[in-house]
């Protein structure tokens, strides 16, 4: 069997040893995961990289428990944080759905705090309107933090307007949650594990969003083929229940902050060097990097 694995050269002759020596540049490409001429070595590296490693629910649950035990409660929201929080809010819908799998992710207190300080909840957005409503309700219920009066009333109104502003039709998802994309990448990188991945609570949100574990593959392929931050068409524009205090526009198309984070590598990520994290005014990448 191993004989069939010998690569052939252009003339179709099987290449025996000595094999063509790869250049150092090629080796670097291989290590970087970039395309190289195939042979047994590239297949080996590919196999090593293939994520057969199970990410089991128990391992994740333990890590999450540790994370929660140290998660600092939100003190207050700075303007810088609000862009990040919007992104976090987008993830919340996904997070809420994770509770279905038994691994409950709490809403970050930050969203409620953001509501308190800015007067309205950030546009949620993540994927289906139902999910975002659920998420906002989750925020209202689970706010982990400072139950200052403003945020308490914020969340209550949020919950109220949430239930009253049910969009008549379930409109198709607007910009999918960034975490959904990440979950999709993880899912697609585990081709052998779909049986296990089905029950992995970390993937429950994906399964739900896709409408079943059978649909995840197609859902993710589609999702990742669109550029991040692009809305899918049609959202009912306004939330009728919008008021001065916390309102969320479930239907708002994504003016969703395609999170303004630094573009990958080339733009020097100075955030790495200052304690506060990322700078606020950042170019929003306009190129698609979906997988």
């Amino acid at each position: 069997m191993s004989n069939t694995r010998r690569p052939s050269d252009a003339d179709g002759y099987e290449m025996h040893t000595p094999k063509i020596r790869r250049t150092r540049a090629e080796l670097e490409r291989m290590l970087d995961g970039r395309p190289v001429r195939p042979d047994a070595l590239t297949e080996l590296i590919l196999a090593a990289r293939a994520s057969e490693a199970r990410t089991d629910g128990a391992g994740f649950a333990a890590a999450l428990a540790a994370f929660r035990s140290v998660s600092p409660p939100y003190a207050q929201t700075s303007p810088r944080r609000s862009s990040m929080i919007k992104n976090a809010a987008a993830k919340l819908a996904a997070a809420k759905l994770l509770t279905v799998g038994g691994v409950a992710l709490a809403a970050t207190g930050g969203v409620a705090a953001a509501a308190a300080s800015t007067g309205h909840l950030p546009s949620p957005l993540p994927h289906s309107s139902h999910a975002s409503k659920v998420a906002v309700a989750a925020v209202a219920k689970h706010q982990a933090t400072p139950s200052s009066t403003p945020s308490a009333s914020a969340s209550e109104s949020a919950a109220d307007s949430d239930s009253s502003s049910s969009s008549p039709s379930a409109h198709p998802s607007a910009t999918p949650s960034p975490s959904l994309r990440g979950l999709c990448q993880s899912w697609l990188s585990r081709p052998h594990e779909h049986g296990k991945a089905d029950t992995n609570p970390a993937f429950t949100v994906l399964v739900t969003a896709a409408g079943g574990s059978d649909a995840v593959q197609a859902y993710c392929t589609t999702l990742l083929s669109t550029a991040p931050g692009q809305p899918t068409p049609s959202d009912s524009p306004t939330d009728p229940a919008e008021s001065g205090t916390p309102s969320h526009s479930t239907g708002k198309p994504s003016s969703i902050p395609t999170p303004s984070h630094p573009t990958g590598k080339p733009s020097a990520v100075p955030s790495a060097s200052h304690p506060s994290g990322r700078p606020t005014a950042l170019p929003t990448p306009s190129h698609p990097t979906g997988h």
Partner: protein, 219 residues
Amino acid sequence: MADRSPMAMPSRANRVGSMTHRSGSTVAGDPTVLVVRPTDEQVDWVEAAKAGDESAFAALYLDTQPRLLGYATGLVGAEAEDITAEAWLQIARDLACFTGDLDAFRGWAARIVRNRAIDSVRARNRRPSQATGLSPMLDQLTEQDAAEAALTNLSTGSAIALISRLPQDQAEAVLLRAVVGLDATAAGEVLGKRAGAVRVAAHRGLRTLAKLLTEAADE
């Protein structure tokens, strides 16, 4: 453990690189492998997790754990799950003190894993194999067997098992680069080496692997 200093930026030209990574594959357009370069959304996860966003932490875990597990398997074989589980407790605990982007996070996490693995090996007084603490069963396989297994089996486990048979510095260089997804500089920071030394070790490792595979194929 002291906080890592933020890692140097990768020297590769890179948006193009990440475009090429769309498929994340080296060969046939197979989209099922760990993508090396972080995507735009992923870049945000560390910050959000530091702020307490649990779903960002979940996304980080899902992306990082397989990398750490692969690396740990190369280091300590069957203990890898325990080692990574311990590492995540520390990661969660120390995340508040960590500053950096996703690349830096991966390197930081890898160093935590490495330290855990070293502690574990020392504590258990393992007989060091030529690579590093392979599980006892793997120790008994010859290099040849391992290469054969990797060729015919092509599983992650057998691939990593073969890589782990390399001399330790080569095995680690290859794993940190290819599996964890660090660049040479970042891998160097995990190993306490210069980037050039990492490149040399990784290249030697790859050439040795190629040789082992060829020999196994020729039988």
